[in-house]
Symmetry: C2
Subunit: 338 residues, 2 copies
Amino acid sequence: MIKDQVRTQTYRNAIFRNRDRIAGKVVVDVGCGTGILSIFCAQAGARRVYAVDASDIAIQANEVVKANNLSDKIIVLHGRVEDVEIDDKVDVIVSEWMGYMLLYESMLGSVIIARDRWLKPGGLILPSFATLYMAPISHPDRYKESIDFWRNVYGIDMSAVMPLAKQCAFEEPSVETINGENVLTWPHVVKHVDCFTVTIQELESVSTTFKFRSMMRAPFHGFAFWFDVQFSAPALLSFSNNPQASYFGTLENVIDTSQSKKRANPSEALVLSTAPEDPPTHWQQTLIYFYDPIDVEQDQLIEGSVTLSQSKENPRFMNIQLEYASGGRSFVKQSVMR
Amino acid sequence: MIKDQVRTQTYRNAIFRNRDRIAGKVVVDVGCGTGILSIFCAQAGARRVYAVDASDIAIQANEVVKANNLSDKIIVLHGRVEDVEIDDKVDVIVSEWMGYMLLYESMLGSVIIARDRWLKPGGLILPSFATLYMAPISHPDRYKESIDFWRNVYGIDMSAVMPLAKQCAFEEPSVETINGENVLTWPHVVKHVDCFTVTIQELESVSTTFKFRSMMRAPFHGFAFWFDVQFSAPALLSFSNNPQASYFGTLENVIDTSQSKKRANPSEALVLSTAPEDPPTHWQQTLIYFYDPIDVEQDQLIEGSVTLSQSKENPRFMNIQLEYASGGRSFVKQSVMR
């Protein structure tokens, strides 16, 4: 994932832009992996960086730190944030915790634990906010390739295979890259996460109702989910060290976002976006396709609700309960992201 | 896999070219899947086709047969070849049984069982022969992308991560598409399978020794494996109905193949090839990379042995034991295809 240039470059920019809040301070890198974010923080002048990772990658991170002569600044801690000990109080938490669809296998829980254990009041968390979006999409090429193919295979009618093909292709959420033209409406905010205040309970089940109006006449094939994370706008934070104030400041940005595809003032906050219209990342988008497309007219209403929750079958899995209605018909689709 | 046009089109050609041996005859399609090969056989004039599949896809195959009004010709049997009953003796077995690297999760065992249970003496098996090849390869781009990347990441020396990166990238065999330019020598035949005579015992462990001379100076990154299958050359089969005779006839072709990249006389037998120089298929090639490349000179000897055998850990897995020596150094690499 370090090879995802959009990701790594945005983190690097975010850390360097926040140099005045990092220089001379104590940083924790939650889930440090190979340690690259810790090194960026050291380069930005951090007095001390605690690089924490529960997996054996911590051993390599320690070697990387040594090879770059940063052992006096970066302390690699091989263990879970629940278990490792840090004597300092920390000024900054940096973490790349986001999973597919933001919340799938996300490490946000570890960031919350680190925050509650170590972060000084008024401390900085990078990224500071995260927003999960959804929108109806049309993707005729994908549908055609997966399903319509069976209508005629070398002159043979194989449409009897189509129900099975639909099940194979569309039962589970699919991580793939679509583009702006596939999206039928402005996105809806499924969940806005304020990293300064979010609780673990708040993430156990996420629910929202949505109402879209299709911007065009098209076959509506399913919903796409994507997210962005914001690295606190320095301008907003300088008004107040109160996280609540910066929260509302940033929320306005988010509301703006839901009304226009491009952010009005990108200079205010640095955003790492995984939206279809932005450069692709390893997170791509997560698609939930219907078994059969719904033909929608321009301005046709699409409404319903979605609930994302931990699977009882396996806590690593995510259940996605979708209810949606359009053109007088209503549907339910339950998917599991495994 | 039906979407692999090289595969489906070659089977279709093979069946239609053998029309004189199929028309009016009884065919078994082993592992019929959606039933497309059975339908090709019916189109080629088969009197009766038994389409056998142990998986639930047989239910769809039966629907496809009905939708194409072929229920009087094609009998779908939902079960294993060991268990289903066919009253007829059969003239032709058709099957698409080949796995990655030919033998990984291959269904050749089912073809052998079907042959021994039902095939008339002198009957036809399509494909008739299969050959697994190997050759040393050079693939600097892949190596660079996976490993050299870590030498310098945003100006940071991350080479401490390289041993782990090598292990992640190169521990297990990798199914990918290379091309003719990656191949350093003519290929070596690891195993030639005569579908008329092969036994299950013969497939349990396959061993060969090899001796290559590099055709160029290059970094030698590993070995590639690929296969082809031949659909009996009608010319050869018309000389004799004795499978042994056709075996030797075809083997000469195979020996030719190992000495020139392109077959001398492609009109003699129809070949479905998964070689790097041929159009890509869903089988691609199987690569076993070394952790570190070996720099070889032009004409430098590369020798050693390879053994492919069922894993004791899990009978589905395949162990690949490679011993190789070049430039006075020798190496051992054990991989598991899971």
